[in-house]
Structure formats: structure tokens, C-alpha cells
């Protein structure tokens, strides 16, 4: 998740290199028990390079804290802050969490310990244990000082490379031997090793995160589950578009492939025994904190025009039980896809949604229109009237009143 070094930054630094034919290099699994935090509570950098990095990110945090993309909700913020404190290990008091209103599965942490979680990620989480896994993974980057280690790796490798390149050039110039091919090969090796290092840090954060959530009493299997969900979602999205899913792995990946991450996390989660209490999932707590936003976040997803992924997400969330909100958005996905037979599927969904007490008012409106389309005018009018009763000030209320008067 976290873009410690973006692929573009690494490739851009050297000019694009192509190397499709190389066999994959397997990154070894890191045992959670081997992961210990490298910093203590209240950590402040003491070395020049890390101080510089922190200094720059202080301004970035100022920028993010004042961003109009943030979800403004004090209760949600304090809930996430509390969660970070529970799984943050020695950094418990040093982490800050911001929620960005962006419908994508992503989260990142800055070197100074502030985290940004995207709304699309919150929307996909089934319970607190899954979210705790993500937060703990990010905390793992902070606890293991990944930013500065990544930067030093980049700096040292590029230093060596440029010195070697210069030496080869000078040596070649003096002796008349062309060493350009050797230099290019060395560059390629260095680039690949930078990506491999980045993947190793991600694997470390996974292992560290797993250990942290185990210690805080969460069910450790929640972490591999999150990856399982992501893999299935990508497949479902591709299937509906009649495309092949992306393999999600290459030598130029900054993150390990989801499938290998999931396998490693699964193996590791067996090594992590839960804390003293029962292994918590915390679903009710999570849904309560998210409830003011869940409808809006689902709405964002549905409007991404990716029905395969959206259906997978809704169905996955419904594994914990269907409700009016999920049924309504299931119906919305079909309505927005609008292919042959989709209107009937949507109508079924709206009809199912209104059976739940938490059905959003829009479910009644759309149910009403769907009934009217199939000739059941009186029932449709009753449903529309119900919509107006539930949402008398809706922006489209005058239009619905007009429809009722016809």
C-alpha cells in the first residue's frame, strides 16, 4: 500500500529500462516474531539526513491537515486515533491518522508518523480487525524506520553506480576500451535491487503489522483476508469487463504481489498467537464509527463504473449479513450498468432493500419508479409517497411530486 518509493521515481531516476524476460526473484517470507521496533516512544531523528526528511514532511503534514479532501468528522478521527494507539506499539502516542475522501484502496504513512487512509479503503473493510491490520502495517513502516532506510539504500546504490560509471568511463577513455555495456548492466542490477529492497520493506511492514495486531488482541487472520478480498475484487472486475486480471507482479514492483503477500500473511498469522483476551473482530464498533459515511463511500464506489468490483465489494460486505444499504447499492450497480435484464435485477434489489428498516429513502424512490415501469402504478405511487415522507427536502422532491401528480 504505502508508496515508500514510487516506481516512477525509481525508474525516472535512471531513465526507463526494459527487462521483460528475466525470471522472477522470490522474496523470502519474514517471520513476525523476528520483527522488533527500531524506535522507542517519542522518537526524534538525530542524523542529518533523517532530520532533513522530517523537516520536509512537517510542511507536507500541514498541507494535508488543511486539505479540503479530508473527511471532516471528529468522532471518526478520534476512533481512528484510538485504533492507531492500540496497534501502534511503542509509537502508539506518535501516530496521526487522516482520512482522505478518495474512492481507492490505499493508505500511506509519512516518515514523521502521520498516516493517510483513503475512504475507499474504509469502505472495503468488514470490521475493525481488518482495518487494524492496515493501520498496523503502516505503523510497521514507521517503527522499522523504512523511509530513511529506503532513502539511504537509494542514495548509496546510486552513489556507487555513478562512481563506477565514471571510473569505467575514465578507464575506458584512457585505454580505448568501451565499457558502456557493463555500465548498463550494472545500472540494471542496481535498479532491480532497489525495487527488491522496497518489496522487502513492504514484507517487513506486513510481518511487523501482524505481530502488532496479534499483541493487541485482534484476529491475525484478518490481514491475509484483506489481501484475499483485494485479489478477488480485481478478478471480479476483470471478469465483468471480459479482460484478464493483471498479474500484479513484476521485477519493477515496489510492493510484493498480492497473492504472495496473502500466502505469506496466512503462514505468518499461524505463528502469531492472539493476545490474552479473545481474538476480536470489533465489527459493531467499526460500523458505528463509519456509519455517518458508509452510504457516501459506497455511492462513490458505485459511480466508478466498475460493476464487477462494486458487486464483489457489496457481496463481500454482505457476508456479515445483508441490510437495506447494501441491497440498495447492489441494485444501483445493476441500474447504472444498464445492460439487458439489468433493470429487472435492479428492481429486485430495491424491493429487497425496502424490507430492511435501514433502507435509505432513495431505495423507496427507485423501487417506486421500478414498479411504475412494470405497470404497477398504484404500488409505485405509494412507494414514491413513502420516499417524500422520509426525505421531504430531497433535491429531487419537486420532481417526484410532479411524477405523483401525473
Amino acid at each position: 500500500m504505502n508508496e515508500l518509493l514510487t516506481r516512477r521515481a525509481i525508474l525516472g531516476g535512471f531513465g526507463c529500462a526494459c527487462c521483460a524476460g528475466l525470471a522472477g526473484i522470490a522474496d523470502a517470507r519474514i517471520s513476525p516474531q523476528s520483527m522488533t521496533p527500531l524506535i522507542t516512544s517519542g522518537y526524534r531523528p538525530t542524523e542529518k539526513d533523517e532530520q532533513g526528511l522530517w523537516h520536509r514532511y512537517e510542511r507536507v503534514e500541514h498541507e494535508i491537515a488543511g486539505s479540503n479532501l479530508l473527511v471532516q468528522d471528529k468522532a471518526l478521527a478520534s476512533y481512528l486515533g484510538g485504533l492507531a494507539e492500540r496497534v501502534g506499539g511503542p509509537a502508539a502516542k506518535d501516530l496521526r491518522v487522516y482520512v482522505a475522501h478518495i474512492p481507492e484502496f490505499n493508505a500511506f504513512i509519512a516518515p514523521t508518523g502521520f498516516m493517510v487512509v483513503f475512504s475507499g479503503l474504509l469502505m472495503r473493510m468488514r470490521d475493525e480487525a481488518q482495518l487494524a491490520g492496515v493501520v498496523a502495517h503502516e505503523a510497521g513502516h514507521f517503527l522499522r524506520r523504512h523511509h530513511i532506510r529506503g532513502w539511504r539504500d537509494l542514495r548509496n546504490k546510486t552513489d556507487v553506480l555513478s562512481i563506477a560509471g565514471m571510473a569505467a568511463g575514465l578507464g575506458g577513455g584512457a585505454t580505448g576500451v568501451y565499457l558502456g555495456d557493463a555500465v548498463q548492466l550494472a545500472e540494471m542490477g542496481a535498479i532491480l535491487s532497489l525495487f527488491a529492497y522496497s518489496r522487502q520493506l513492504e514484507a517487513e511492514a506486513d510481518a511487523m503489522g501482524l505481530k502488532l495486531i496479534g499483541q493487541s488482541g485482534y484476529d491475525p487472520t484478518a490481514m491475509p483476508e484483506t489481501w484475499q478480498q483485494l485479489i478477488e475484487e480485481v478478478k471480479a472486475s476483470a471478469r465483468m469487463r471480459r479482460k484478464r486480471p493483471r498479474r500484479g507482479y513484476s521485477l519493477f514492483a515496489t510492493h510484493p504481489a498480492p497473492a504472495s503477500r496473502m500466502a505469506d500473511l496466512r503462514a505468518s498469522s499461524r505463528e502469531v498467537t492472539g493476545g490474552t483476551g479473545p481474538q476480536a473482530r470489533g465489527r459493531d464498533r467499526y460500523l458505528k464509527a463509519l456509519s455517518p459515511h458508509r452510504a457516501r463511500f459506497l455511492d462513490d464506489q458505485v459511480k466508478l463504473n466498475d460493476p464487477g468490483a462494486s458487486l464483489y465489494i457489496v457481496n463481500n460486505l454482505a457476508k456479515d449479513g445483508w441490510n437495506g444499504l447494501l441491497r440498495f447499492y447492489e441494485a444501483e450497480i445493476w441500474r447504472l450498468r444498464g445492460q439487458k435484464g439489468d433493470d429487472a435485477r435492479a428492481a429486485q434489489g430495491y424491493a429487497a432493500a425496502i424490507d430492511f428498516p435501514d433502507a435509505p429513502p432513495e431505495a423507496w424512490r427507485n423501487h417506486g419508479y421500478a414498479l411504475a415501469k412494470t405497470g404497477r402504478r398504484e404500488e409505485g405511487k405509494a412507494a414514491l409517497a413513502r420516499y417524500l415522507a422520509l426525505a421531504p427536502n430531497a433535491s429531487d422532491a419537486p420532481m417526484v411530486r410532479f411524477a405523483l401528480a401525473q
Binding site: L53, D159, L161, M166
Partner: protein, 254 residues
């Protein structure tokens, strides 16, 4: 051509690649501020980094703080010399009576407007309807901000100075020394990038815009080090010292 003249040509072309460049654009009716005026500097962004051997920029906190203090002092002195009163805004919430959100909105708007000025005025994608001077505005928000703060002008300032590390200087030396044995690989060294954008808070228009760039491929050559008071004063002078009046104003003066 003898060997000596070849070297001469090589060295002089290298010298050409070490240079200071500024390019300013002004509103056609722009009159450089003079006399009794007030200027607010919007969260100036001054950064100093060290160039690693390979040429990556490593930010340095201590140098940055030092340079920032020096640049702001130099700016205050320079403006005072023209009669201006300078207020530096460090945080968005520190100007009394002004919502931090308004400041944030203004900054983001300027960011977008500044980028399009750079795109259409500096990067060659000229717009046929905006040929003369600069014709961009931050609009009503900036006017509201001016009324609330009581300021005449807002200045947006960014400066980045990259200092060549010892390793980088060594690479530069080798790169040029190589020319003598047929492997010429001049390396970029110390460099500065800065821009300043002046907004008239009475109208909301961006009335003056300047970009400064210095760079050198010669080892040991830099064009002022903004960590020092002299270097900062030099940079501020290059960036804001020779403000040109707008085209219409100059025409009237002639």
C-alpha cells in the same frame, strides 16, 4: 585547431553552461510598488538540500532554517528600502480576523494559477489570447483577503538551493578532467530555483511574476549560497530587485 584551442573551446562552452537566468512577466498596467505600501508574504517555502554524489537532492533541516531566516530578512530589508511594510505569514491561522480556510483556498488557487502561468509563459505553450504581459487573476477571494487583512499586496515565494556535496564536486571534477582523455561527462552541480509571484489585493490580479534559475557544471562554482546573509540578499535582489513596470506604463513614460 591545436589541442590547446580545443580545450579552450571546451572550457568556454562549459563556462556557458554555468549561468544565472531570470525571466519576469508583468501585467501591462503594472507599476512596481513604491512609497507607503504593505506586503504580506504567504507562507514562504525556502528549502536547501545537499546534492549526493549521484546528484539526488537530500533535504537538510538546519541549512533550510538558516536560509529561510536569511532570505526573509533580506526580503524585509529590500522592501523597506522602497518604503514597503512586510509581514511574513508563517502559519495559515495567524492573521487576525482571517479564516485559515480562506488562506488555504487562496494558496491552492494560486498554486493552480501559478502553474498555468509557468506552463503558458515559461514552458512554451503560449496562449494566443494572453500574449501581452500576464493576464491571470485570483479573483474575488484575493480581494476579500486583502480587505480583511488590510494589506496591499500578497507575495508568493518559493526558493530551492541545492548545495553540491564533496562527493558531487569530485564527480564534477572527474567529469571535466575526463575531457582531456576523451571521456567528457560534465555533471550538474550547485543550483538554485526560485519564483516569486505578486498579487495586487485591490484587484486580485497576479501583476508580476518572476522565475530565477542558476546552475553550474563547473565544480566549486555556485551563484550565491542562500545559507549566508550575502547569498540570500543576492538571491532576493536577483528575484525581486529589478521589477519592471508594465508595457502600458512604460509607453506612457516614454
Amino acid at each position: 585547431m591545436g589541442r590547446r584551442s580545443v580545450i579552450l573551446v571546451a572550457v568556454s562552452s562549459l563556462a556557458l553552461s554555468a549561468c544565472v537566468q531570470t525571466r519576469q512577466y508583468t501585467d501591462v498596467d503594472f507599476q512596481p510598488p513604491q512609497g507607503d505600501y504593505s506586503l504580506i508574504v504567504m507562507r514562504p517555502d525556502v528549502q536547501v538540500g545537499s546534492l549526493t554524489t549521484a546528484g539526488l537532492v537530500e533535504p537538510r533541516a538546519d541549512w533550510t532554517e538558516q536560509a529561510r531566516a536569511n532570505v526573509l530578512r533580506a526580503l524585509r530589508e529590500q522592501q523597506a528600502g522602497r518604503g514597503g511594510r512586510t509581514l511574513v505569514m508563517e502559519r495559515r491561522d495567524e492573521v487576525r480576523g482571517i479564516d485559515a480556510k480562506l488562506v488555504a483556498d487562496l494558496e491552492r488557487l494560486h498554486n493552480a494559477v501559478g502553474n498555468s502561468i509557468i506552463l503558458h509563459k515559461y514552458l512554451g505553450l503560449g496562449l494566443p489570447t494572453k500574449r501581452r504581459g500576464i493576464d491571470w487573476t485570483l479573483g474575488e477571494d484575493a480581494v476579500r483577503f486583502g480587505r480583511a487583512s488590510g494589506m496591499d499586496y500578497a507575495l508568493f515565494l518559493y526558493a530551492q538551493d541545492n548545495v553540491a556535496s564533496t562527493g558531487r564536486v569530485a564527480m564534477q571534477v572527474l567529469g571535466i578532467a575526463g575531457c582531456f582523455i576523451g571521456f567528457c561527462a560534465p555533471q550538474g552541480g550547485a543550483s538554485q530555483t526560485a519564483f516569486a509571484s505578486l498579487v495586487d489585493l485591490k484587484t486580485g490580479d497576479v501583476v508580476w511574476f518572476n522565475v530565477l534559475q542558476t546552475g553550474s557544471q563547473l565544480p566549486g562554482v555556485a551563484f550565491g549560497d542562500i545559507r549566508t546573509p550575502q547569498g540570500s540578499a543576492q538571491m532576493v535582489e536577483r528575484l525581486l530587485g529589478r521589477m519592471r513596470a508594465g508595457r502600458n506604463v512604460r509607453a506612457r513614460q516614454q
